[in-house]
Structures are given as structure tokens and as C-alpha cells.
């Protein structure tokens, strides 16, 4: 009875989403207020019923209702309760429901926040979100119903994939989905602007906080995924250019470009059609990612099922939603007029370079991700593309971007003397390069071309991010920084931290695969590893071999690591649980693999300097995003309208028009 309740809620949610898709849009074109006003109640109702469906599914998991196929496939009565709950999104059907729930949540938030906007505009935004939502909900209901009963049913479930039985799994998918799905909001804003054939700076001001919000969740979600992969399956790696990772990274790159182009559109009323194109592309890449991951065309822990009907449905949805938006763009983009121009040396130029470089990176990574699929579809010899390609084509545009970033942050809007900019930043640049040359020798004793380039870029980005706040510290007359500017400085500082960490951990990690026996001692990057003993232990739903390995440095005790090799009998799977001694500056990671005979065990040992800062850098970026998204000018539109002056931009530029334009 309970599963049917969930099913019923899902059906009601579909009906409401269809109303939300059709009626407000129809109203906005016929000028009927009653139809337009339906958008908000429909959005609220949809959220309630999707939430109810989700709650029902969670209840079914917690009460071990194995008569439901999805629960049977992904849970087991021995599973700890916390994992029973996270198992809701441990499979295809439930994760789609989570996707829908996130979308309903964003829609509800937009519905509430858009009350101060013109009804015609907000009803179009909500209408477009309704179209997306009905597509996803219909997909769930028609091809991947999580409430499908199983007849006859079994008393015991098949257990959750052990890879997913991990605390990282509790937060990674919801966070990533929040970001992924959040990209639908700027998309809806962009389509609404195209429908109206009009886009002013208010539009950019409304769109910006949503975009930054989605971007910051996406940043956190990707960082969490990388962290999870690192300790759960990573063998010490933190990014593999796996198609599934790319599926989340491509929308991130586009969203990053969008955040920056929106800054120009809001400030100067230019780059309008470009911004709209980026907004459409970012969400298209989110949908494409969903297609890649969910259709089974690529294989990984994320692709749960290989049902061609599902792939076809998502592809159809992608064509309908994105294709429709691109056609609309082709028809209407010409009507979005620029409100001014700019000189070659100006903030606008640097942001344009940022956009071009990010789009180039996106395109090259997309090529590497999709090429094997195309080749496969054309029945040519099967091929895959190695990691070095991705590393190369990512760094190729990103290093110049890092260098330009430091300058761009200090360039004025509209026009600036290039000489002045160079003079202002000469010393920070010189110091960064000098540090990059010297520091690796001090800490690691060696240096290489790529580490110098990477470190110089990272230090330069981090350093230049704090010139503005520092300038304020030493010069009381300097312009006070707004919260958004602080956000920008902090986010860019995070970029610098990330670049430094990624460079050091790629350049100076030490990796060993050894056959070790009890009592054996060996060296790893200045650490002494001592294999003390091996024993057998029993867990709640697994048995394991556990090694005890003591880590010492210069004879002093550092840590005892206990990596495990677990055997999950229900799924007949063996899992390696690595053990990590972490501190901010380095990780020592040890994984235990199989017995290789003669009393020896295959042991995987890794020394990873600064690896923590890869993720800390991402968190700092997200924090910067949080500050920028909550800037007062997004929160108090009324005061703004009354003429409170926002203070964005490094220096007040010459001849900047008043902040409020258009309506």
C-alpha cells in the first residue's frame, strides 16, 4: 500500500509540473494574469508531492520492503540504517527522484524569490522550469519507476554496492545534483529573456546569484566526488578524466564562464547574447552529463543500468529542451543589443579572454569525452582517449587563464593603460616567479619546468587576489570592498591554492607497489613503513583481512595505519579500504591488496604532498561564491531601486552608467 502512495504522489507531481509548464507560459503570451498566477502554487504543489514520493521511498528502504524492486536491488536488512537512507540515491531510479526533488526545490526557491519581478517574466521562468521538470518526472515515471513491485518477492535484498557504503556518499550526490540541477535556473532565465526578446541589466542582476549558487554547489559536489574517489577507489589519484567526472566538470567550466560573463552583462549591459548562449550551454551540458551517466553508454560505478529505452528518452529530452532553446536563440539573439563598447585593455577584455579560454577547455574536453562514443556509433575501430590528452588540453588554456586572471582582477572597466597595469603588478609577478623557482628546492630538493610554471601561476593568482584587500589595509582612502568583491578575491585565492596544490601533488607524489611480509620494513619518501601484523576481522556485513602498518619518520612514531581488504558475501565482492594518515601538508596512504603467496601481501603505498589543499582550494572557491551570491544588492532590490549605490569593480571606472537600466 505504501509504495502505491509514493507512486500516486509521483503521478500528481507530474500533473502539476505539466500545469506549471503549460499554463503560465500560455498566460504570458495572452496576457492572462490568472494563468500566470498559477505558476507559484503549481511549483509549491509539485515540491510537496515530489518530496512525499521521496519520503515514501526513504521509508520503504528504512523498513526493508523488498517487495519493491528498487529496494530489493539496492538494500539488505543487514545494511546500517544510515546507508539504508543513502541507498535511496544508490541506484538509477532513486537518483532520478533525487534529481527531481532538487529541481522542485530550486523551482520553489525561484518562485518565492521572484515575487518582486514582473509577473510576465517570472511566469515564463517558472514555465520553462516546469517543462524541464515534467520531462524528468515523466522519465522517472515511464522508464524508471522506483516504486515498481516485484512479484514474487524475496525476503532479503541484494545489498547496496559496497563502493557506495561510505560517508562520502551521503553528501556527494545531493551536493552535485544541487549544482547540476541548479543550472536549470539560469537556463530558464535565459529562455525567458529570449521569449521576451529583451534582456536588460536587471535580468543579469536577477540571474547572477542563482548562477553563483548553482556553481558553488557544483564546485563542492565535484570536490567531494574527487575526495571520495581518492580514498575509496582512487589508489591515491584524485582526478581520472573518467567520462563520468567529465560529465560533471564540463557544466562546471561553462558555469564558471557564465558567472564571469554575467558580471560584464550586469555591469556594462554588453555580452548579452553570449551570456544567454553560455546559460543554455551550461544546462545542456548538465543534461548531456545526465544522458552519458544514466544511459549506460559509458561504464562506471555511476551507470546503474543499460536500458536503451532510457538512453533514448533522455536523448529525446535533451533534443527537445536544449534544441528548442538553441532554435529560440538563433531566432531571437539578434534582438539583444549591446549598450556600449570597450577598449582592448579593460576588465571586459580580460573577462572575454576568461570566457574564450574556458570555452576552449570545455570544447577540447568534450571532444575527448564524446569522440570514443561517436567512433563506436559509426562502427569504426573502438578507441579510447588516454589521460595525458586531457591533462594537456586542460592546461593549455588554463595556464594563460591563470596568468591573465591576476591582471584582470586589477583592470578597470572600459579602458585602462596597459603600462599602468603592468607597473602596478610587476613586483607581485616577479616575486611569484622567484618563489616558484626557489620553494620546490627548499621543500623537495628538485624542480622541473612544469612545476615551476604551475607554481608560478598558482602563487601569482593567490597573491594578486589579496592585493586589493591588502591595499585597503595600508591605504585608508582606498575604496571599501563590497561583499561581492570579497567573494571574488576569496574565490580567486581558492583558485591559486588549488593550482599550487595540484602542481605539487602531481609533481612530487611518490607511489609504490610492493610485496610485503609481516615484519618487513621499507622506505617511502623519507617515511619508514613497518608491516607489524596481519589479522582477520568481522564487520557487520563483511569479513576482512587487516594489516597493521606503523609509519615512522627519522625513528619517531607518526601513525599506525590499518588498511583492510573486505569481503562482502551477499554481493560476492571484494573491496579495498585504504588507510590514510592525513595532515594538511601531506597524506600517507596505504592500501592492502591480495596475498601474493609465500606470506607476502601486495601493498600499495602513496606519499601525496599537499593533496588536502586540492579540495581545500575548491572549498575556498565555493566560500567566495557564497559571499558573492549573498551580496546585499541581490537581497534588497527595493533599496537599490531607491538608489543605494553598489560598489562593484576594483576602481570606479570612467563614465560607468548608473546601475539600474531598462525597466
Amino acid at each position: 500500500m505504501i509504495p502505491e502512495l509514493g507512486q500516486f504522489a509521483l503521478v500528481l507531481a507530474v500533473c502539476l509540473s505539466l500545469c506549471q509548464a503549460a499554463l503560465p507560459l500560455a498566460g504570458s503570451f495572452t496576457g492572462r494574469n490568472d494563468l500566470m498566477q498559477l505558476a507559484r502554487p503549481a511549483a509549491a504543489g509539485q515540491f510537496v508531492f515530489v518530496g512525499l514520493a521521496f519520503a515514501v521511498l526513504a521509508y520503504l528502504f528504512l523498513t526493508d520492503d523488498f517487495s519493491v524492486e528498487f529496494v530489493f536491488l539496492n538494500s539488505n536488512s543487514d545494511l546500517p540504517s544510515a546507508y539504508k537512507f543513502t541507498a535511496v540515491w544508490g541506484g538509477h531510479e532513486g537518483s532520478l527522484l533525487l534529481w527531481s526533488l532538487m529541481l522542485a526545490g530550486w523551482t520553489l526557491a525561484v518562485a518565492f524569490a521572484s515575487r518582486s519581478q514582473p509577473l510576465e517574466f517570472s511566469s515564463r521562468v517558472l514555465g520553462v522550469l516546469g517543462i524541464v521538470s515534467s520531462g524528468i518526472l515523466l522519465f522517472t515515471l515511464l522508464t524508471s519507476n522506483p516504486f515498481q513491485r516485484l512479484l514474487p518477492y524475496f525476503p532479503e535484498g541484494r545489498d547496496l554496492n559496497p563502493l557506495l557504503q561510505d560517508p562520502g556518499m551521503v553528501v556527494h550526490p545531493p551536493m552535485l545534483y544541487l549544482g547540476y540541477v541548479g543550472m536549470s535556473v539560469p537556463f530558464a532565465f535565459a529562455v525567458a529573456a529570449l521569449l521576451a526578446g529583451r534582456l536588460d541589466r536587471n535580468w543579469a542582476r536577477w540571474t547572477r546569484p542563482w548562477t553563483i549558487g548553482a556553481w558553488l554547489f557544483l564546485t563542492c559536489g565535484i570536490a567531494l566526488g574527487s575526495w571520495w574517489a581518492y580514498y575509496e577507489v582512487g589508489w591515491g589519484g584524485w582526478w581520472f578524466w573518467d567520462p563520468v567526472e567529465n560529465a560533471s566538470f564540463l557544466p562546471w567550466l561553462m558555469a564558471t564562464a557564465l558567472v564571469h560573463s554575467l558580471a560584464v552583462t550586469e555591469r556594462r549591459g554588453i555580452f548579452k547574447s553570449w551570456t544567454v548562449l553560455l546559460a543554455i550551454s551550461a544546462f545542456t551540458l548538465s543534461l548531456l552529463g545526465t544522458f552519458l551517466v544514466r544511459s549506460g553508454v559509458i561504464q562506471s560505478v555511476h551507470s546503474f543500468a543499460n536500458d536503451p529505452a532510457r538512453g533514448l528518452f533522455i536523448l529525446g529530452l535533451l533534443l527537445l529542451i536544449s534544441g528548442g532553446a538553441f532554435v529560440l536563440y538563433a531566432l531571437r539573439a539578434a534582438s539583444l543589443e549591446s549598450e556600449g563598447g570597450f577598449h582592448p585593455v579593460s576588465r571586459e577584455s580580460f573577462l572575454l579572454a576568461n570566457n574564450v579560454l574556458l570555452v576552449v577547455a570545455t570544447a577540447l574536453i568534450l571532444l575527448g569525452t564524446l569522440y570514443p562514443l561517436f567512433v563506436d556509433a559509426l562502427n569504426l575501430p573502438e578507441v579510447s582517449i588516454g589521460e595525458p590528452y586531457f591533462n594537456f588540453v586542460f592546461l593549455l588554456p588554463m595556464l594563460p587563464l591563470g596568468v591573465l586572471l591576476g591582471f584582470g582582477m586589477h583592470a578597470a572597466w572600459q579602458k585602462m593603460s596597459g603600462r599602468k597595469l603592468l607597473r602596478q603588478l610587476f613586483w607581485p609577478l616577479a616575486v611569484s616567479i622567484a618563489l616558484a623557482l626557489v620553494l620546490p628546492f627548499i621543500f623537495f630538493g628538485t624542480n622541473s619546468f612544469m612545476t615551476v610554471v604551475g607554481l608560478a601561476t598558482g602563487i601569482w593568482v593567490g597573491f594578486s587576489s589579496f592585493l586589493m584587500p591588502l591595499g585597503r589595509l595600508f591605504n585608508a582612502e582606498a575604496v571599501r570592498l563590497s561583499r561581492a568583491q570579497w567573494g571574488m578575491c576569496i574565490a580567486h585565492f581558492g583558485v591559486g591554492v588549488f593550482i599550487i596544490a595540484a602542481t605539487v601533488t602531481s609533481g612530487y607524489s611518490v607511489e609504490q607497489d610492493v610485496a610485503a611480509r609481516e615484519g618487513q620494513q621499507w622506505q617511502l619518501a623519507g617515511y619508514e613503513l613497518d608491516f607489524r601484523e596481519l589479522r582477520r576481522i568481522e564487520g557487520q556485513n563483511f569479513t576482512a583481512d587487516e594489516a597493521e602498518i606503523e609509519v615512522r619518520r627519522d625513528g619517531r612514531y607518526v601513525a599506525t595505519l590499518r588498511p583492510q581488504r573486505r569481503d562482502y558475501p551477499v554481493r560476492e565482492v571484494v573491496m579495498t579500504e585504504s588507510a590514510i594518515d592525513a595532515n594538511p601538508f601531506r597524506d600517507v596512504l596505504i592500501a592492502l591488496s591480495d596475498s601474493v603467496g609465500d606470506g607476502a601481501w601486495a601493498v600499495h603505498a602513496r606519499y601525496k604532498p599537499l593533496i588536502r589543499f586540492v579540495w581545500i582550494g575548491c572549498v575556498i572557491m565555493a566560500l567566495g561564491g557564497l559571499l558573492a551570491a549573498t551580496d546585499s544588492r541581490y537581497r534588497r532590490p527595493k533599496e537599490l531601486r531607491a538608489g543605494v549605490k553598489p560598489t562593484e569593480g576594483a576602481k570606479p571606472a570612467v563614465g560607468v552608467p548608473a546601475e539600474e537600466g531598462g525597466r
Binding site: Q299, P344, P381, S384, I385, A600
Partner: protein, 145 residues
């Protein structure tokens, strides 16, 4: 006049940089293509020399052996028609098992052995790499003829 001159130099510089970048990206692309070959294709000598490629198939039951107490191990991989011996010096992924599918990256040695540097195993019991499923189906079809 001067500013126009400068602009031309700037645009020219950007164009040259873009072309150079495109050339480098193309080179990175073509040198990192990893083609997939089945054991039958390897045996038939279809693999170009000195090139890394991917080899896929089922691990032959009972073929796995290890140089005792070391990480060096060998096994045979089959597409149910031909077999190729694989040598590997690292730690295996958790899901690697005899009788199951796997895909290895590496190069062919002169004596016909495949020296793997990476081994990927299936992720769960329902999964088989698409190209592996295909080459197995082809071999079965040929056997039926």
C-alpha cells in the same frame, strides 16, 4: 595609425597562438588514442608495433599464476577463439577474477606477450565492457558457422 598598427600585431599574435595551440591539441589527441583489440586480432598481427593499445577479453579459468612472493603475475585472456598471455607488475583492481571480463592497457612484447600497465575490471555482475561483449559475440558467431 599607431594604435591600428598595434591592433594588427595583437590580432596576428592571437591568431598565431591559437594556431599553435590547435596544432598542439591535435598532436596530444592523436598520440593518446588507444585502440581496442581482441586476442584474435592480436594473434592475427593486426596491432601496429610499438603502440599502446587496449586488450579485452575473459580471464581464462586456471590460467592465473604469480611469481610467488612478488607482484609479477601472468594470466591468459581469451575471446573464446584465441588466447593472449598478459604480464602485469602492479596491484590488481578489486573486481579482477578468473572467468570474468577485463580490459588491459599496455604494449605487445616481441615474444607475443602483452605487458599491461593498467588493468580495469568490471564494476558489477551485470557489467561487461561494450567492446568486450561485442568481440565475444563475434567469436561465438564465427564458432557457430
Amino acid at each position: 595609425m599607431k594604435s591600428r598598427h598595434q591592433r594588427m600585431i595583437f590580432i596576428g599574435g592571437v591568431a598565431v597562438a591559437m594556431l599553435a595551440a590547435a596544432a598542439l591539441a591535435y598532436k596530444a589527441f592523436s598520440s593518446n588514442l588507444l585502440y581496442y583489440y581482441s586476442p584474435t586480432q592480436v594473434r592475427a598481427g593486426e596491432v601496429p608495433a610499438d603502440r599502446r593499445f587496449r586488450l579485452g577479453g575473459l580471464v581464462v579459468e586456471g590460467s592465473f599464476e604469480r611469481v610467488t612472493g612478488t607482484l609479477t603475475s601472468r594470466f591468459r585472456v581469451t575471446d573464446l577463439e584465441s588466447e593472449v598471455e598478459v604480464e602485469y607488475h602492479k596491484v590488481y583492481p578489486d573486481l579482477f577474477q578468473e572467468g570474468q571480463g577485463m580490459v588491459a592497457h599496455g604494449t605487445l612484447a616481441d615474444d607475443g606477450r602483452f605487458i599491461a600497465d593498467t588493468i580495469l575490471a568490471k564494476h558489477d555482475e551485470n557489467y561487461m565492457a561494450p567492446e568486450l561483449a561485442e568481440s565475444l559475440a563475434e567469436a561465438e558467431a564465427r564458432a557457430a558457422e
